[in-house]
């Protein structure tokens, strides 16, 4: 076992960790914000919207995230240059940076998985509670924001821990497109030093620590929620 490479590559690895965590937190927060309307539409929407939301969820959940990332970065990314005048545009810079594609792919993925869970949660709120809210004369908006949404989110929170850990565990996939995350930093160490195991073991330990932190943090969050037993 050789660990002398660690000090030298420390800055690269710290920056990689920052990128990994940024992708994780951004995709979880924005993805969840997207998941709520997508889940709600599947429960209450009209047929076309409901089917569109359902198709989106099936697609996200039915195909590997790896190929979703490649489709966005190599596939969608390859049509931008065909649009006349695009190369001269500032958007060209966005095309170049794989980081934005990674953010988009991870956000959509989290939204797809979480929307399916939110759909179930919205459905499982007892009808009597919604009827009581309606009997109080609440408007549909108020009913959703005061009763339906909070009740659904409280139910989802325990499963959210697993979902966020799942999302954390897919973050190394971004190294397959040029994003300099923690995995890419570790790959660089492996290429430079010809070490096979040590960098990967280091990576595994970091991910285990992150998993532990997330588990503890969500455990704390869950305790904050009022529960009636």
């Amino acid at each position: 076992m050789r660990w002398d490479w660690l000090p030298q590559y420390f800055p690269v690895l710290v920056h990689g960790l920052y990128i990994t965590l940024f992708i994780l937190i951004f995709s979880v927060v924005v993805g969840f914000a997207l998941a709520v309307p997508i889940g709600l539409v599947q429960v209450t929407g009209r047929a076309p919207a409901r089917m569109a939301a359902g198709a989106f969820c099936s697609y996200i959940r039915g195909t590997p995230l790896l190929t979703q990332i490649w489709l966005l970065y190599y596939g969608i990314g390859s049509i931008f240059p065909l649009i006349p005048g695009f190369r001269e545009n500032f958007m060209w810079l966005v095309r170049l940076d794989a980081f934005y594609y990674a953010l988009l792919a991870f956000t959509l993925s989290f939204a797809g998985y979480e929307a399916e869970i939110m759909r179930g949660a919205f459905l499982s709120v007892p009808r009597g509670e919604l009827e009581a809210a309606r009997a109080f004369g609440m408007s549909p908006w108020k009913l959703t924001s005061r009763v339906w949404f909070p009740r659904a989110v409280f139910q989802v929170l325990p499963t959210l821990t697993g979902e966020v850990i799942g999302q954390l565990k897919s973050t190394p996939l971004v190294f397959t497109i040029p994003v300099l995350d923690l995995m890419a930093g570790v790959s660089k160490v492996r290429q430079d030093t010809f070490l096979t195991y040590e960098p990967l073991i280091f990576l595994a330990i970091i991910y285990m620590i992150l998993t532990y932190i997330i588990t503890r943090a969500f455990g704390y969050l869950e305790k904050l929620i009022p529960q009636r037993r």
Binding site: G62, P64, G75, P172, Y207
Partner: protein, 251 residues
């Protein structure tokens, strides 16, 4: 109007003459992709079978093993489930092929070239095993103890107790989890592409980088993956109906 025309031209340019690209044989990539999909399902199937076997053994060990075995299994499931699949695949792939060759060298057989499919199946199966262990353990624990005790009272051997009572009673609890794991392994099979095994994802990537038709080929690959997932979902819902036969309907 100008924008609409530009978009229309872009699309026309893009999909011009693309059908030939998916032809079978030397001119198109249809056969490469379809073959890749077959390899993906192959990896997924054998890895799933291996995972199921490991999971069954693991669940048994966790439920009725000694303290040392329990601690080892706890370490296995916690470790595998806390580390990203991609990292595990890389670690196990290099460690596994390297370790096997070292053992073979010391025994005196010499190095062998390990078949990519076999390595992929072992690596994914080992990862799946940890998840299977947890799913099966929970499903077995959900079966009331009195049922297998009744079997014991009838003089059934432990094996018969398992096959006649515990197994059929736990399957309805286990099938949803097992279905999820199957869907996961079909998707995780794409990760094997990082160690250079040509399944659907890597076949698509290779075809796309040769033909430069990234969007079309990736869309076709996604459609193939989606077909696998959706048909599996159908199959598992039929299976769940079958193992739940005779049970009261869920609310």
């Amino acid at each position: 109007m100008i924008l609409a025309a530009a978009i229309a031209r872009t699309w026309a340019e893009f999909f011009h003459d693309k059908a030939a690209l998916l032809a079978f044989g030397d001119t198109g990539y249809g056969d490469e992709l379809l073959w890749g999909a077959v390899r993906s399902v192959e990896i997924a199937f054998f890895a799933y079978a291996l995972g199921l076997a490991l999971g069954l053994a693991g669940a048994m060990g966790k439920l009725s093993g000694g303290p040392i075995l329990k601690a080892i299994l706890e370490g296995y499931t916690t470790l595998v489930r806390a580390v990203p699949e991609l990292v595990l695949i890389l670690l196990l792939y290099y460690a596994g092929t390297d370790g096997l060759n070292k053992i073979l060298e010391t025994v005196g057989i010499g190095r062998i070239e390990i078949n990519g499919l076999v390595a992929a199946v072992f690596v994914l199966g080992f990862v799946q095993g940890a998840y299977h262990t947890e799913v099966l353990r929970a499903a077995i624990q959900a079966v009331p103890l009195g049922q297998s005790e009744a079997g014991k009272a009838y003089g059934m051997s432990p094996f018969k107790q398992f096959t006649r009572i515990t197994l059929p009673a736990m399957l309805p609890n286990a099938i949803p989890g097992l279905a999820n794991l199957w869907l996961n392994v079909t998707k995780d099979s794409a990760l094997i592409s990082v160690v250079g095994f040509t399944e659907l994802a890597l076949a698509t990537r290779q075809a796309a980088s040769v033909s430069k038709q990234y969007l079309l080929l990736y869309l076709v690959a996604q459609a193939l993956y989606l077909t696998i997932s959706l048909s599996s979902t159908l199959l598992f819902s039929w299976l769940e109906r079958y193992v739940r036969r005779g049970q009261p309907k869920l609310a």
